[in-house]
């Protein structure tokens, strides 16, 4: 027993030495009333210290979903590395309902092998057990992978922790000049990487359905133009160069087309660009503003913002027939629609007396909900598993990203380090 205690202290020190150095501090401001308590025992390497604290990343992932509460490491009575070391009583007294345990091993080829398991404390049984391999620079991927598997085992919904975010930042320099940057990070804000930097505005990032490319609007030519850029080698191509607006690119789920906005004929209209034929097809013909196209899941219809009814509202256009139907009727400002992966939950920017909020509308029942209590909210983007959405808002005069669960029960901010952050775009499953 004494031996075990000594070993525990060593592990604690090792864990502190590694430390947690996430770029963004997640601040959960509202979670579910009775979160499931999941303890994540430190996953340690047998002969050394791992460059990333896998368990801390898993804990943070689960907490960020708002559905789970974790147990602080210093309160744990034991650190089981495998099933034989699990004493269920240790976890019952802490109130843990589930336990994630595991261990890591350095392989001769330089890779790290991680064995992890999920145990149900009351039932005293292991419900999930897996082996994953990765290099030192993919330990965060391993951690998110574990989070995904645990989340799915406990909720029945596929986890989206292994996904990424794209967003735009702007930083005003000392000279008064603003630098615009297109960034990509993990879903938790870590491993932020710059894709593009410009002294001219960058806007409207979106993902290809395979998650390998981004589309966006850049003013680097002195005018707005749509570009596509590969994440792998940062190579890019200019897609449009028309007079007037070149905006709001949205890649179709089937990968074949890009919906976009052009005003080359004098007025903002929705067009489709065919990646294979290179042809542009005009989809709307109206003297009002038509913009912000997004696709239905089957790639057969476009939903978009139009003020043809006198105020911005959301419409749906069937591509084959051209039939257009108005979807939103609540209030006098509904814009920037995005469809959740269930194909029926529409999220949008909605104005009420208190400002601009993110709202959702069930397209089957027409149930309408305002999801956010912050103001100046814009650019909603739904996680590929449909559980959460991110949006941008203002806090303390700064543009920040915030998250809300699709049922509005869980809310948190992703505070930025520097400048303004905006226009989040959640990647598809990768």
């Amino acid at each position: 027993m004494l031996k075990k205690r000594v070993f525990l202290v060593f592990c604690l020190l090792a864990a502190w030495a590694v430390g947690s150095h996430a770029e963004l501090t997640i601040e959960v401001t509202s979670g579910v009333d009775n979160p499931t308590v999941v303890a994540v025992s430190p996953i340690k390497e047998k002969s050394g210290v791992l460059p990333e604290d896998i368990s801390a990343i898993v804990s943070a992932d689960l907490e960020r979903s708002g559905l789970f509460r974790s147990i602080a490491r210093q309160n744990m009575l034991s650190f089981p590395g495998d099933q034989s070391e699990v004493y269920y009583r240790d976890w019952r007294v802490l109130g843990a309902q589930y336990l994630v345990f595991g261990n890591a091993e350095k392989l001769p080829d330089g890779r790290t092998k991680v064995v992890f398991g999920l145990a149900e404390v009351l039932g005293e049984k292991v419900v999930l057990s897996q082996v994953v391999h990765g290099r030192d620079d993919s330990l965060r991927d391993i951690a998110h992978y574990i989070s995904d598997k645990v989340y799915e085992a406990l909720t029945g919904v596929r986890g989206a922790f292994s996904t990424r975010l794209a967003y735009v930042t702007s930083v005003r320099g000392a000279s008064g000049r603003t630098m615009y940057r297109l960034m990509v990070s993990d879903a938790d804000g870590a491993r932020e990487r710059m894709m593009l930097e410009s002294t001219e505005p960058l806007m409207s990032p979106g993902w290809s359905p395979d998650g390998r490319e981004l589309v966006y609007v850049s003013f680097e030519t002195g005018r707005p133009a749509i570009f596509r850029q590969k994440l792998s080698d940062a190579s890019r191509k200019q897609v449009t160069n028309f007079t007037g607006l070149n905006g709001a690119p949205a890649w179709s789920p089937d990968g074949r087309k890009l919906a976009l906005v052009l005003s080359k004929d004098g007025n903002p209209e929705i067009y489709l660009y065919d990646f294979v034929s290179g042809e542009f097809t005009r989809m709307t013909k109206h003297f009002s503003i038509d913009t912000e196209p997004n696709w239905t899941v089957d790639s057969k219809s476009i939903i978009f913002t139009s003020d043809r009814g006198g105020s911005p509202q959301i419409y749906k256009l069937d591509i084959a027939s051209g039939a257009t139907e108005r979807l939103t009727f609540r209030g006098n400002y509904n814009a920037r629609p995005r469809l959740a992966p269930d194909g029926r939950t529409l999220v949008m920017v909605h104005r009420d007396g208190g400002g601009f909020h993110i709202a959702s509308q069930d397209l089957v029942t027409n149930d309408f909900r305002i999801l956010t209590s912050t103001q100046m909210d814009e650019s909603p983007t739904v996680a590929p598993n449909g559980a959460m959405l991110l949006y941008s808002t203002k806090r303390g005069g700064k543009g920040v990203l915030a998250a809300v669960s699709i049922d509005a029960g869980v809310k948190f901010f992703l505070p930025a380090r520097e400048g303004d952050v905006r226009e989040p775009a959640w990647s598809p499953f990768l």
Binding site: V131, S138, L231, G244, E378, L430
Partner: protein, 171 residues
């Protein structure tokens, strides 16, 4: 798009080919491995092509002619003071035509691409007015920056009022 961009892009492509991660996390679906597999290349720096510079003194006629025209919330209608200044611009542009650019802007409220459209509408209403006064439309370029280039940074009525604007510049 500058040559520098391409060069940097190529360098990064080269670099990232060394960095391609060969992680194989998921043993079955490999969902996690795809993440590092494409090792998102870091930055491409674009030198902004920029616009043609500061206001020409000749556009403001020594400071006597306004070069920024303001709009009400959600409106693209010209105000009387804007019309007065634009009459002056129209006279000058008719007598000595130069290429000008009308830059439309909006305030930060509402969605960004919709504000891009509003900014363009505002710039177009200025253009239409100038054309009605006899200015040749082919000398006028219209561009919208939406809410991307605010003149004032605050989130209050006075800042928003300063941001809902069209600026006339030399092209």
């Amino acid at each position: 798009m500058s040559f520098q961009t391409l060069k940097n892009g190529f360098l990064i492509a080269l670099l990232s080919s060394f960095l391609v991660a060969c992680s194989s996390t998921g043993k079955n679906d490999g969902s996690a491995s795809g993440v590092t597999g494409d090792g998102s290349g870091s930055g491409v720096t674009t030198g902004g092509a920029g616009d043609s510079g500061a206001y020409g003194d000749d556009l403001s006629a020594g400071g006597t002619l306004a070069t920024v025209f303001y709009f009400d919330f959600d409106s693209t209608n010209l105000k009387p003071e804007a019309r007065a200044a634009l009459n002056g611009h129209a006279q000058r542009l008719k007598s000595s035509p130069i290429y000008v650019r009308l830059e439309g802007h909006g305030d930060e409220r509402g969605s960004r691409e919709y504000n891009m459209a509003l900014g363009e509408r505002r710039a177009n209403s200025v253009k239409e007015y100038l054309v009605l006064q006899g200015v040749d439309g082919q000398y006028i370029e219209v561009i919208s920056y939406g809410e991307e280039r605010p003149a004032a940074l605050g989130s209050d009525e006075s800042s928003w009022g300063l941001n809902r604007r069209v600026e006339i510049r030399r092209r």
